[in-house]
């Protein structure tokens, strides 16, 4: 029994006595001890669901294995995480899961967690062709939204998308219709995402362990040459400051994934942060300095551009004094931009004629 006066308790995990605190699940304890208990429906940001049963462990005195994600630890438990029987059952379960999908492999660009099924199936050598039969899930190829691929043929009904939409995003846009093998992830009235409460935040895509819900926009670059490089940075849009990984191949940005440990967002993003990144490499980008000549802006070298810019300020300074010069900084640029600009104004022209765009 839990003695509420204590902070930590002990149980036996694979023969080793380990400590735990009140409320911890067997999965959490196993994870802490690097047991690599497999799972498909678990996302640590979500309430434990107990659907995939892959994380089952044996607890001495219990007739059947228990799902470690939904089983709270209690003192004195004797837990086994990788007995031969568990491993065989896990393999059988994975073979069953593999049997309901058209394919198991999915491109890495599909989403943050998209490789989970593939990795587990390979780890357990579960792509055996056993248990062949009907496939589950009907793909929604007719949903023409540009962001979220709905290839439910890859769906394994782990409900992570449903749960992340409800528990993390709070949109409750997606749910499940029918039951049993006919279970189908969908929206209200089985509509296209655009007609639903979906805000295209992409959280479902990023938690999907199979690529059934996938980043359609990133997948445009699945054939682009190069390895995927991830660069941790902060989203460029609002002031919340979500941590993201920019995915690039060679010098091309191919997609965005949220940082699951980002302090401001904990894996969440919105439609802008998730999908509105390609302005960066848009053809409209300015690539060279421009100077107005005979009424037209003409490309010039940096040396010339800086020279013309400086001369303009020098002339105004001579004719009207430094107080006729004004600087506007941006709330979109980094600290270094605004710091340098205010220093230019204060240390250079000796005045405080600077403001930023926060008043609009």
């Amino acid at each position: 029994m839990i003695d509420k006066t204590k902070n930590t308790y002990e149980l036996t995990l694979d023969g080793e006595v380990v400590a735990f605190s009140h409320g911890e699940s067997l999965f959490e304890i196993s994870e802490r001890h690097k047991k690599e208990v497999p799972t498909l429906c678990y996302d640590k940001r979500l309430d434990a669901f107990g659907g995939c049963r892959m994380c089952m462990v044996e607890v001495e005195g219990f007739r059947n294995p228990v799902a470690s994600c939904t089983t709270k630890a209690s003192p004195g438990m004797v837990v086994h995480t990788h007995t031969a029987k568990l491993e065989k059952d896990r393999k059988t379960l994975l073979e069953l899961v593999v049997s309901e999908n058209r394919q198991v492999e999915t491109p890495e660009l599909s989403g943050f967690a998209s490789q989970e099924l593939t990795q587990l199936a390979n780890r357990y050598d579960a792509i055996t062709g056993r248990f062949a039969g009907a496939k589950s899930g009907t793909s929604r190829t007719e949903d023409l939204n540009p962001f979220i691929l709905r290839d439910y043929d890859q769906c394994i009904s782990c409900y992570r998308c449903v749960r992340v939409c409800a528990e993390r995003e709070g949109d409750y846009a997606i749910n499940v219709m029918n039951r049993g093998f006919a279970t189908q992830i969908t929206t209200e009235f089985n509509s296209d995402l655009r007609e639903s409460e979906c805000t295209f935040c992409g959280q479902c895509v990023q938690t999907c362990p199979t690529g059934a819900l996938a980043d359609k926009k990133a997948l445009r670059d699945r054939k682009t040459v190069g390895d995927i490089k991830k660069t941790r940075t902060i989203c460029t849009y609002c002031g919340v400051g979500c941590s993201v990984d920019i995915m690039s191949k060679e010098d091309k940005i191919v997609g965005i994934q949220p940082a699951m440990d980002g302090p401001a967002n904990l894996g969440a993003l919105c439609v802008k942060g998730q999908f509105a990144y390609d302005f960066v490499q848009h053809d409209d980008r300015l690539t060279t300095p421009l100077v107005r000549k005979n009424g037209k802006l003409e490309p010039v070298s940096w040396t010339e551009a800086i020279d013309v810019a400086a001369k303009g300020f020098e002339k105004v300074s001579r004719d009207h004094g430094n107080e006729a010069i004004y600087a506007i900084a941006s709330g979109r640029a980094p600290h270094e931009a605004s710091y340098a600009l205010q220093k230019l104004m204060r240390a250079g022209w000796g005045l405080n004629q600077i403001d930023n765009c926060s008043r609009a």
């Binding site: 059947n64 294995p65 379960l93 069953l96 846009a173």
Partner: protein, 558 residues
């Protein structure tokens, strides 16, 4: 026609309003419309997508035009034996649909249309006959649950009271008090008669001890196990007995609110029960200050919507709460975190119906009703190839052979017994040899690899195609699998395909290995009893009829 606003207003302030609202709209519009879903979602603050998903979960709620009044023909195991599949095929052109076993195996073949049940034959559709009363046992053994059920006046409050009704409530509330009543129930050895067999007194004690208020008693009348129809008989002929049982349960638990969750396919019972509840309320047997004891207890009647899984207590609670009816993860158990996360006793109809007798006659006498070490009685629904199908109250420990041959007249037409099911379909099959060897109690039946469960015993004579029966049984489980846990969702589908020979290995050895591996993982890892029970079907077929299976596989692949 009732306006949308009126329906919403009528239900929104009631406890567990969703099912009531859905049925009201379903009856009004003959289907569930998008407008109804939007109106309900708004009123009850349920996300639209979730409510849509929940509606699609239930078999009898449909968004198709006119679906409420479609003819739904029972294709349960017994009705299939009686030719329901053929009738369905003939009538499909007229929009008839199938429904899983609808609990009238004693009066096959039932069909639902709107809120009425019919009895259907190849050439006729007539209103279903009145539920048959149970057949008395030949030996004059004392009964508990069925003690008074054959009294023709028993259905009304006056008749019920004339034969001793509500005296147990009077005794408990105004004489014994809570602790002595509870002690009596504990001492009787009464255990859950819905199948799980948890000691009833202990459950009530746990609810009484749990923190939180109000506390609830829920009567599980979602009798969905194929081959089970005992609860319907009790509720149709002796509804006040169940109500009185609930009052006693609530009194022991300290509960002030109760629900009866009745399966969708019993519309006539719904009416009977509604009237009985109203009579009880009018007579002050429910409500405030019951029988002048100061005790308060209300009962709300809710109708299911067609989902076998809702007979599982935590699915039932989710269903009542208006949530997607998946089973919950346990612990915590309903005794501490039940309806709305408050302490709740969920009890089967039969369990509750046993209590008034126990309170009146004492624990010792109840315990003594059983044979040998077994305490009390069990209702058995007997159906299939048997001379006298129906409900029997047997002393626990009675040999099944006695029931079949002496009580129920044996197998018709001089045929031999081939196999039986025990717990409806959940216990798989027992062969004739085992069937004639077991006694009706859990230890004996479990020793043969099955279990007694809710007590639905279906009899199959030597002419029956057991592999096909197994396929139908597995198809039932696949149809009813909720889809939450992987082993059950995929396993029931794969096992059905394999029994049908529509997919799977072409050699029996490989077939057997797949089926056994699946069975193993389903039994050890499914999240609830459905997935654990389903493989008992294949397991028992492999044990009893390997040759039949082998030839089925061979035929499918030739």
């Amino acid at each position: 026609m009732e306006s949308t606003e009126k329906i919403i207003e009528e239900w929104r302030t009631q406890p567990a309003p969703l099912l009531g609202m859905l049925h009201a709209f379903h009856e009004r519009d003959l289907k569930i419309t998008e407008e109804a879903i939007l109106a309900i979602a708004k009123a009850l603050r349920i996300p639209k997508a979730e409510l849509f998903g929940t509606v699609t979960f239930y078999d009898h709620l449909s968004m198709e035009s006119g679906s409420h009044d479609d003819l739904r023909i029972c294709t349960g195991p017994i009705c299939s034996l009686k030719g329901s599949q053929e009738i369905l095929k003939a009538m499909q052109g007229d929009g008839a649909r199938s429904m899983p076993c609808s609990g009238r195996c004693d009066v096959p073949i039932p069909a639902l249309r709107g809120n009425r049940t019919y009895q259907i034959a190849p050439d006729a559709i007539v209103p279903t006959p009145e539920t048959p009363r149970p057949i008395p046992n030949p030996g004059g053994l004392e009964e508990c649950v069925f003690a008074e059920i054959r009294d023709p006046d028993r259905k009304s409050l006056a008749g019920y009271q004339a034969s001793g009704g509500y005296l147990a409530a009077e005794k408990a509330l105004n004489d014994l008090g809570r602790e002595r009543t509870l002690a009596e129930v504990k001492a009787s050895g009464l255990a859950g008669r819905g199948g799980a067999g948890f000691p009833t007194g202990e459950k009530w004690q746990a609810v009484a001890d749990a923190q939180g208020s109000p506390k609830y008693v829920v009567c599980n009348a979602d009798e969905g196990e194929p081959g089970c129809f005992k609860d319907r008989t009790l509720l149709d002929h002796d509804p006040h007995l169940v109500i009185e049982g609930m009052i006693l349960a609530a009194f022991c638990c300290g509960a002030s609110e109760g629900f009866i969750y009745l399966r969708y396919e019993y519309p006539e019972t719904l009416k009977t029960l509604g009237q009985a509840l109203q009579e009880a309320r009018d007579a002050g047997l429910l409500g405030k200050d019951i029988l002048g004891s100061g005790y308060e207890f209300q009962i709300h009647l809710r109708r299911g919507a067609g989902a076998y899984i809702c007979g599982e207590e935590t699915s039932l609670l989710n269903s009542l709460e208006g949530k997607h009816p998946f089973p919950r993860n346990r612990p915590p158990y309903p005794v501490t975190h039940g309806f709305n996360d408050l302490p709740t006793a969920v009890n089967n109809v039969e369990t509750l119906a046993s209590v008034p007798w126990i309170v009146m006659n004492g624990a010792a006498r109840y315990a003594a009703l059983g044979l040998g070490d077994h305490k009390g009685t069990k209702l058995i629904s007997l159906s299939g190839d048997i001379e006298k199908p129906g409900n029997y109250e047997v002393p626990l420990g009675l040999p099944l052979k006695t029931l079949i041959e002496e009580w129920a007249g044996g197998i018709p037409g001089g045929k031999k017994l081939q196999a039986v099911t025990m717990a409806g379909l959940s216990g798989g099959f027992l062969g004739a040899e085992d069937a004639y060897a077991v006694t009706l109690d859990e230890p004996s039946v479990r020793a043969k690899g099955s279990f007694l469960g809710a007590g639905g015993i279906m009899i199959f004579d030597e002419t029956r195609d057991m592999v096909d029966l197994g396929r139908q049984a597995m198809a039932f489980f696949a149809h009813e699998s909720c889809g939450k846990c992987f082993p059950c969702r995929i396993g029931t589908q794969r096992l059905t395909e394999r029994l049908a020979g529509s997919a799977g290995p072409d050699t029996f050895a490989a077939w057997r290995e797949e089926v056994e591996d699946m069975g193993q993982v389903m039994k050890s890892s499914s999240a609830c009893g459905l997935g654990m029970a389903a493989p008992l079907i294949t397991e028992s077929l492999l044990r009893l009829f390997p040759d039949d299976l082998a030839s089925t596989i061979k035929k499918a692949n030739s």
